[in-house]
């Protein structure tokens, strides 16, 4: 249970990282590693190259931008959790980060990594979708902004190109009513189903291949969640209805 062979690269700055991603075949970005390294250990992922961005300095800021909060690629989830700016401008994001795994994982894991990994049961992509945030993708070709509604394309799949690095993720400030609620088998596990409410907007996670927007009045319309050993499809739909009701009752 150890990683398959790969070539290791540790660029010193973003430009170098992007030029590596542009020139290497089958490269993966290694940020916090809390999702990627388990996949490497199980050999479920066998990239030919790892581009470790952890040696890049000045890429871990959490700052105010355009009436919201920008979180750079190397900002750890624990730093987001402890950020006064996040608590003030986007408390929904703080509440969501606290549901991500455990503090020891959050000490290393990055927010941008969770977004790029795009686990359909993950909280942070659903928060980005509910708030209508975006990522800034950087490559040797330049920068582009990808809105959350265009980012998540499938299970662990995004519209990021192989040579693009998520330089930062931007969340609009939250002023009105908000809530994130989920049900999981054990504390810190991925959710069986979860809901994010931001004002009138509702996003669901754990019930489709990507996080999805839904209507408060009929949150399960069109949903066909999968069933597995942990929860049947019917139970997941039930959770969506109950959690939606709770999110709007709060």
């Amino acid at each position: 249970m150890k990683p398959a062979q790969f070539e290791y690269h540790a660029p010193a700055n973003v430009v170098e990282a992007c030029s590596l991603l542009a020139s290497l075949e089958d490269a993966k970005v290694l940020a916090g590693g809390q999702s990627l390294v388990p996949l490497l250990n199980f050999r479920l992922a066998r990239p030919a190259h790892l581009v470790d961005i952890n040696r890049i300095s000045g890429l871990d800021r959490i700052y105010e931008r355009d009436g919201g909060v920008a979180v750079q690629a190397l900002a750890r989830q624990a730093a987001v959790e402890d950020s006064e700016l996040v608590a003030r401008a986007c408390p929904l994001l703080r509440d969501a980060v606290r549901l991500v795994a455990h503090r020891v994982i959050r000490n290393r894991g990055t927010l941008c990594g969770s977004i790029a990994h795009a686990d359909p049961a993950s909280e942070l992509p659903a928060v980005l979708l509910a708030l209508g945030g975006h990522v800034v993708a950087r490559s040797a070709r330049g920068r582009r902004t990808i809105g959350a509604d265009e980012l998540f394309s499938g299970v662990f799949e995004t519209s990021l190109a192989p040579d693009e690095l998520v330089e930062e993720t931007w969340f609009p400030a939250v002023s009105g009513e908000h809530a994130i609620l989920e049900e999981s088998r054990r504390h810190g596990d991925f959710a069986l189903a979860g809901v994010v409410r931001a004002g009138d907007r509702l996003a669901l996670f754990g019930v489709a291949g990507t996080p999805v927007m839904a209507e408060r009045g009929d949150p399960t319309r069109g949903l066909q969640p999968s069933g597995d050993l942990e929860a049947t499809a019917e139970f997941r739909l039930h959770l969506v209805r109950v959690l939606t009701e709770q999110a709007f009752a709060a």
Binding site: M1, K2, P3, A4, Q5, F6, E7, Y8, A10, L30, G33, Q34, V37, P38, N41, F42, L50, D52, N54, A78, A101, H102, R103, V104, I105, N107, R108, H187, G188
Partner: protein, 150 residues
Amino acid sequence: MNVNGVDHPAPTDPRRLLSDHIRHDIGLTGTHVGCEHGVCGCCTVLFDGAPVRSCLMLAIQAEGHQVTTIEGLAPDGAPLHPVQQAFHETHGLQCGFCTPGFVMSVVGLLKQNPDPTPEEIDEGISGNLCRCTGYASIRRAVLRAAELSR
């Protein structure tokens, strides 16, 4: 990398996990390896002072950083670290396999929050699995460790 105050060369194979490097190359076997995918918490060490899973890091990533393992908390012959002393006093362990990971997580927890409530303790140790104790005695150990650390 610096482990418990001693400098060590980085491994030559970038595939080497930090957990395996600590155990097999440096010979510090107090860091235990359970699940190797970040679930059990047995391999928790301090990385620049904050607890992390050593099975979810490549050893090469620790170059230029400070790593503290369970062996680094109290040198041989010195009194136990308050967290170790608390686990000892309150019987916060049975077989001991998970204990180094728990102790390192609790060191991090108390550094972040020196006076945790029972709920904060449950949250703080929720990333470590113990198959013997049922956690009640571990919870007591954390309370006692907070007392001893004051």
